[in-house]
Amino acid sequence: MATITHEEAHVHAHGPELQHQFETPEQQKEAATLGMWAFLVTEIMLFGGIFMAYIVYRWAFPEAWEESAALLNTPLATVNTVVLLVSSLTVALAVNAAEEGNKRRLLTMLALTMLLGLTFLVIKGYEYSEKFAHCAGAKDPISWITGSDLHESHECLVPGRGFLFPEEHGATGGSHGAAHTASMQSGHQLFFLLYFCATGLHAIHMIIGLGVMSAITIMALRDRFSPTYFTPVEIGGLYWHLIDIIWVFLFPLFYLV
């Protein structure tokens, strides 16, 4: 029986990036790509459940959907869409740079991507804080933080016991008190619940994506990549693009009703 294990043999034959269980770098790369795609399938189905709930409730409460979507901040979301699409381009260019072995460009693109990702999260955070500020009775997040300009709340779009859909946007008009029971608002509340769940889950993915990008940047700084080995950049890029695709659907579904 041979005494040299495969691992030792492989470390000599190939670079250190080839893990012991693989025969060739191509095999390792293909396995990683396929594995990542299998994971992306999972991610798509994860959001699929939320989209399923969205379809059911939009079909059940079409008016509530239209009235609620009017209260979301579409201009900010449009900016966010642009930000994400640009970040998708920079990621694609980062993979391209890695493929060509251009470390400088790779690092620039990675940095740009992370910057755009952060921008997205900041804008998203502002959007969220607007909603929370209204619940707290403030006009906008800044007056909420400074504590000035507090007044009686007439709008709270955060689902929960305090949820209050503003009357002037409701189809019923303001004369009937009974029209504002929980049930009347259920469609509106479901819209905002799904809005927070879907965009929140998306934001969590974005944060994970930023973590992945930072790890890849560190690896790039340590010269771990070469034109023959850049699998982490590639599969990290796949993950980032998926986040982008999900936003491509969230944007028209929530903001452009």
């Binding site: 008190g177 009974a178 029209a179 029971t181 929980a182 049930s183 009347m184």
Partner: protein
């Protein structure tokens, strides 16, 4: 000796039909599950390694054989599918003329109200030889109304009506179970179904008796009227209709702020968005609790919601009343 049944009683028109299909399935199963083990036993004994038998030319595939044991089971399952499907559609389609009984499920009891206003808890009296339709809803979680002797079961959901129908054939007392797990005392959410000849049923209907209402109050003196005369559930609904001021908008002659309810039940309504809807119990329920979900064409969305203002019980009465308007309208 305690009785030790191995087969449930057949007490509805469905029971025999379901049992026939069941026995057919059992027979099919016996052909497979009864014969296949013997084939296997034969093979493992005959071809045990200690047996000197002919093992030459073993086969490891045979398309004809594969097709045989694909297509024959396929034909058989298609047969039972269509058999079951026809029966299922029948079991889910109540006939036009039924005796309507309203059922409310709550943790952990069944509350039943008959058309004449007679109420009962954890019991259901029904006449035999008469199709009975149960219009069921739940106050809390999902329950399931199950009468094994009738071979019928239907989940009872909060927030909507589900419908189940049957025709009892044999006088007697049968089990009534809640079949969908509904919390701590799920297994105590049981009762009995009493099937009576029509005359006995009518006599029973006319007997007043105290009953605990779903909201916990005790109703001692029920207004019981002979079933042939009138419809006190509808009468209670009519009172409610007046007291809530519904008549102010829904004038019987039409021309009010809201559409007339005369002859509404069972009719097809044209809605503001161009679609149509059949006015059944669930539509009436929704229109009372969430009036703006479906606006009848030509009317404005001005009706307030009565969600939280009336109980399931009162809702049942209102619906019984609106249904009675259809009867006179015809």
């Amino acid at each position: 000796m305690r009785d030790f049944p191995l087969f449930p009683e057949q007490a509805s028109t469905f029971a025999n039909q379901v049992d026939q299909l069941y026995f057919f399935l059992v027979a099919l199963s016996l052909i497979f599950a009864g014969v296949l083990p013997f084939v296997i036993l034969y093979l493992i004994v005959r071809y045990h390694r200690s047996q000197k038998v002919d093992r030459s030319n073993p086969v490891d595939s045979n398309l004809k054989l594969e097709l045989t044991w694909t297509l024959i089971p396929l034909a058989l399952v298609m047969l039972v599918f269509f058999w079951g499907a026809f029966l299922y559609v029948q079991m889910r389609t109540p006939p036009a003329r039924t005796l309507d009984v309203y059922v409310i499920g709550k943790q952990w009891m069944w509350h039943v109200q008959h058309p004449n206003g007679k109420r009962e808890n954890n019991e259901l009296h029904v006449p035999i030889g008469q199709p009975v339709k149960l219009i069921m809803t739940s106050q809390d979680v999902i329950h399931s109304f199950y009468i094994p002797a009738f071979r019928i079961k239907q989940d009872v959901l909060p927030g909507r009506y589900t419908i189940m129908w049957f025709e009892a054939t044999k006088p007697g007392e049968y089990h009534l179970f809640c079949a969908e797990y509904c919390g701590t005392e799920h297994s105590l959410m049981i009762g009995r179904v009493v099937a009576l000849p029509l005359a006995d049923y009518e006599r029973w209907l006319a007997t007043p008796g105290p009953v605990v209402l779903p909201d916990g109050t005790i109703d001692t003196g029920q207004a019981i009227v002979a079933p042939s005369i009138g419809d006190p559930m509808a009468a209670a609904g009519a009172r409610l209709f007046t007291n809530l001021g519904c008549l102010g908008c829904h004038a019987m002659a039409g021309g009010g702020v809201g559409p007339s309810l005369q002859g509404l039940y069972g009719a097809t309504e044209k809605l503001a968005d161009g679609s149509t809807v059949v006015a059944d119990e669930n539509y009436l329920r929704e229109s009372i609790l969430n009036p703006n979900a479906k606006i009848v064409a030509g009317y404005a969305a001005v009706m307030p919601s009565y969600q939280g203002q009336i109980s399931e019980d009162q809702l049942n009465q209102l619906i019984a009343y609106i249904k009675s308007l259809a009867d006179t309208g015809n």
